[in-house]
Amino acid sequence: MKPATARRLPDAAVVRRPARVRLLWLLVAALVLAALMVASVAFGSRNVGWSDIWAAIGGADESLEQAAVGKRIPRTVLAVLIGAALGLAGAVMQGVTRNPLADPGILGVNMGASLAVVTAVAFFGLSSPTGYIWVAMAGAGLSAVFVYGVGTLGRGGATPLKLALSGAATSAAFASLVTAVVLPRNDIAGSFRLWQIGGVGGASYERIGHVLPFLATGFVICLLSAKALNSLALGEELAAGLGERVAVARGVAALGAVVLCGSATAVAGPIGFVGLVVPHACRLLVGVDHRWLLPFAALLGAALLTAADVVGRVVARPAEIDVGIVTALIGAPFFVWIVRSQKVRAL
């Protein structure tokens, strides 16, 4: 980072960092993520000695401590996966809508997935874990289309403001509906918090196994559309002039993001703001080239969610704070900052 240059050339300086800088940041991000994963296994609401941790990683679960650590390992894996999915989805959404305020949480996509799952469970007796994911993806897709449709109406197309407003309104509507659906049913009211706030507690290898193929598909689709997103960033006309089929490129990238959001929400509930914060941070670090930005967003998203989960477990011992709460506390000030800065006008 060179603050002096950045100040003189506020936009041009962050367009593209030198390859060496980018590699350096990639290394740093990977190291940070590794450290956070270790922390996530080591720290929790219960204090565990290092010897027990090593034993538990080796597969032992004789004592309570070792069993606790054994539970933390799948939880860490899930946090990494969900964080990567949300960070990547956020970066893709910001690229597709060319909107700095786009985020699966703010645009109501996660709440839509949540509502779809809750409705299917309550009224149609859905119980298979794979079914959850399909339904969640359908909900995410429908609400994405709806919010984008509402936000695009009128003059000026989908301005950041209109999109964010319609997303917030839709999100509020869905949250009320989720409450209305869940509240009368005692059998699912216990998981009420999961569908309102979102968290990665209660992870198991089985659940991860169910969601992994979906996440992998989403990752591949998103990463493959990096080049198209670069063209789209120049504006529709220029992208078309460069030989990009704009509608197709947008649709494919959005599909990837929806798959990621839907499957992430199906296992972890609606988690907001990760997809908002991470791409902005990444742009500062590596510039706006999506071929770098997207993998980086996945990496940093994983790091952010793991960190938020660790913080949520450590701060409120012996209780735990759901990771959705922590990300909102971190992300909302960031949202305000973006709204305040001039960047809202264009991306």
């Binding site: 319609s166 409450t179 509240l183 735990e320 709460i325 506390l329 949202f335 305000v336 709204v339």
Partner: protein
């Protein structure tokens, strides 16, 4: 008319005066009608429920007589609840339309821009985490709501352009405060769904006179303050410069009005939680039925009362489960919010 072929058109002044008189009449009629509806809803709420009590039994309880059975059910259970519903609805409606008028934006109602969430977070912390008494709870709720109002206003104020940015920043702050509420609730000894619903969406379940009293007193004190500024508020709709040219002390009016409206919100929220979307809905609905001209403060308050009374009654008895009032208003209000955004987007307004 048919005999006079050439009637001279009335002079413009008379047209204006006639229009004014007609609108004033309509406004008065609407207010009377709304008040009557609120009264009817109030009495029906007292009469009906799991057991039905005839009108005279209810009236005798209300004036303080002892009626076997009804004294407990109506006097202790239904009366405080209905009174709180009415008062809270009026407070939310009044405060909501005040903000919407002052900021000239229907989206800038206190529940959208985070002020209700601030009061809710303050009250939830005071009650759930600190176990304080009712006076301290109200004080903390007001302080929190005022602080949030100040914060949102300050954060939105760059280059003087307020409107839309204020709404967005409010939404951001609101989501942060909502997660504070969620955090406070998760820190409570056990996750009590009823208590949680009260602070997340608003609920009137288990209302007692102790909860009702502060809200009633706040409304009795602050409502006249707001109503006395109704004329100034209408002038401020024309813009600050015009208003001050018309003799309004803009800054002083704004300060008084904000403090009074935030106070109403905070007391109401401390009693019943942030009942979703009532503040947001009342103003536009009142504007629709009252028509142009005249202050919206009283009609909006009455609409708020009616909304909360009806929504609470519906939530209690219309379904198999007893829904808290906030869920009902939330399900009603959110689509309207979406509709409002669609309409404004279509019209190409600045929103």
């Amino acid at each position: 008319m048919s005999t006079v072929v050439l009637s001279t058109p009335p002079p413009p002044t008379e047209l204006v005066a006639r229009g004014r008189a007609r609108r004033a009449l309509r406004r008065r009629a609407v207010i009377v009608l709304l008040a009557a509806l609120v009264l009817v809803a109030f009495i029906v709420t007292l009469m009906c429920g799991q057991t039905y009590y005839p009108l005279d039994a209810v009236l005798r309880v209300v004036i303080g007589e002892q009626v076997p059975g009804a004294t407990f059910t109506v006097g202790r259970l239904r009366l405080p609840r209905a009174v709180l519903a009415m008062v809270v609805g009026f407070s939310f409606g009044l405060a909501g339309v005040t903000f919407q008028t002052m900021l000239r934006n229907p989206l800038a109602s206190p529940d959208v821009i985070g002020i209700s969430s601030g009061a809710s977070a303050g009250a939830a912390i005071a009650i759930v985490s600190l176990s304080l008494g009712e006076t301290q709870v109200s004080v903390i709720a007001i302080a929190a709501a005022l602080a949030v109002a100040l914060l949102v206003y300050t954060l939105a104020f760059t280059d003087g352009v307020v409107g839309t940015r204020l709404v967005l920043i409010g939404i951001g702050i609101a989501s942060m405060l909502d997660s504070v509420v969620a955090y406070v609730l998760s820190q409570a000894a056990e996750w009590d769904l009823q208590e949680a619903m009260r602070w997340l969406t608003g609920s009137l379940n288990g209302t007692t006179w102790d909860q009702t009293r502060p809200a009633v007193i706040a409304l009795a004190v602050l409502c006249p303050v707001l109503l006395s500024h109704a004329r100034n508020l209408s002038a401020m709709q024309l813009g600050d410069d015009t208003a001050s040219a018309l003799g309004v002390r803009v800054e002083r009016t704004r300060l008084t009005v904000i403090v009074a409206a935030v106070g109403l919100i905070a007391f109401a929220t401390a009693a019943a939680g942030p009942i979703a979307f009532v503040a947001f809905l009342s103003g536009p609905i009142a504007a629709r039925i009252t028509g142009p001209g005249g202050s919206l403060l009283v009609p909006a308050g009455l609409v708020g009362s009616l909304l909360v009374l009806v929504a609470d009654f519906t939530g209690q008895y219309a379904f198999d489960t007893r829904f808290p009032v906030g869920v009902v208003t939330g399900v009603l209000g959110a689509p309207y919010l979406v509709y409002l955004i669609i309409r404004t987007n279509r019209a190409g307004g600045s929103l």
